[in-house]
């Protein structure tokens, strides 16, 4: 199981996770209506500068997190180049790349427990209305943790299928994909139980 957080501390770790999450929400919100290759080229350069400010090892770690997305972005670009407009495709791909890079920056410089705490803090006022705040925070942490793993699982299944088939990926991969996820889920639930289970403070 891979970790999305840098294994050592940097200056960005010192920033409160709540601020970084808030920045992510704001950036996601304010970039929504904007398109354009130039704009997102500048934005990507800015994020890469942020990466480099963490040190070259951290930058390599961060760019490594982009790897599962590269094929996907290439497909999106190809799709637009063939069926639409290359410039528009570039704009979309750069925008996605920027958002992924920025989100990864937040992820790799924030411990999941800090992220969970930030969410907990924002949701805490709703706890009195019966909102299971700790469970929600744990849910966030687990989802963010497992998305790259399941993405890799899907890629692995597709590769294995392609090795033995003359055709491309098939819908038949849905079953092994889902069964793998269910089995992982049972193991995670067992691990949680072994550590005392999910506590719910009233």
């Amino acid at each position: 199981m891979q970790s999305l957080t840098l294994p050592y501390r940097t200056w960005a770790h010192a920033l409160p996770a709540g601020y970084k999450l808030a920045a992510l929400v704001l950036v996601g919100f304010f970039t929504m209506p904007f398109e354009g290759v130039l704009l997102y080229t500048i934005a990507i350069c800015a994020v890469l500068a942020l990466y480099l400010s963490l040190g070259t090892n951290a930058a390599r770690f961060g760019l490594g997190m982009m790897r599962p997305f590269l094929i996907l972005l290439a497909i999106v670009l190809l799709y637009h180049a063939v069926f639409g407009d290359l410039a528009e495709g570039l704009g979309i791909v750069f925008k996605i790349a920027f958002l992924i890079l920025f989100a990864n920056f937040v992820t790799m410089t924030s411990k999941l427990s800090d992220m969970a705490d930030a969410v907990l803090k924002a949701l805490a006022p709703f706890q009195r209305f019966g909102l299971p705040v700790e469970k929600i925070a744990l849910g966030f942490a687990l989802v963010l943790r497992f998305i790259p793993q399941f993405f890799n699982l899907g890629m692995m299944l597709i590769e294995a299928w392609k090795m033995r088939s003359t055709k491309g990926a098939s819908w038949r991969l849905l079953l092994p994909f889902t069964l793998n996820i269910i089995d992982d889920s049972e193991r995670v639930a067992e691990a949680l139980r072994a550590r005392g289970g999910i506590q719910h403070k009233p």
């Binding site: 996907l72 639409g84 966030f140 989802v143 639930a189």
Partner: protein, 179 residues
């Protein structure tokens, strides 16, 4: 308790991964994606309560700004022309699970019918409301946008039915909609 909750969380991750698959753009800026396949699976396998929890976690992660869709992420997507479909996903998964648990037919047939009702009618209903209010489209135009998605969504309903029945065969304890 942990089991069902973790299953819902894992299906939220599954929906996220499906959402990362390439989309096909349709007129009026409505994308066709595999994410609705994930929504249907979550509802059919996990049932109303945990299916809705899975979708809610997925939507929350999107709202937080995680770039989990080809449109990026953030609160902004909920205000886009297709925001209604996102709300429709939540209620759609709930209805799929509800229909699944009420029907007494086999898992495959029940899942198919449940997906038609929850995954298509409910999702389209909220999508249409969204197109009307968010994109300023006339009701009939907004409704007519949906026809183009029907063939794709029927295929997704069939796939969901087949896969759910197979999961019921190999991991019956995971199909919470039939416990």
């Amino acid at each position: 308790m942990e089991r069902k909750f973790v299953l819902a969380v894992m299906f939220a991750a599954l929906i996220c991964v499906f959402s990362l698959l390439p989309k096909f753009m349709m007129p009026f800026g409505v994308p066709i994606t595999a994410q609705s396949l994930g929504i249907m699976l979550a509802g059919a396998v996990l049932g109303a309560r945990y299916g809705a929890i899975a979708v809610a976690i997925y939507l929350a992660i999107v709202a937080l700004g995680a770039p989990l869709t080809s449109r990026g992420g953030g609160i902004g997507v909920f205000f886009g022309p297709t925001g209604g479909y996102l709300i429709g996903f939540l209620l759609g998964a709930f209805v799929i699970g509800l229909v699944m648990s009420k029907l007494r037919a086999g898992v495959q047939a029940s899942a198919f019918v449940a997906c038609l009702i929850g995954g298509i009618i409910i999702v389209y209903l909220f999508g249409t409301i969204g197109l009307h209010y968010l994109a300023g489209m006339a009701w009939l135009d907004a409704l007519n946008v949906n026809w183009i998605f029907i063939p794709g969504d029927i295929i997704k309903a069939v796939l969901t039915a087949i896969v759910t029945a197979q999961i019921y065969k190999f991991r019956p304890e995971a199909v919470l909609s039939r416990q």
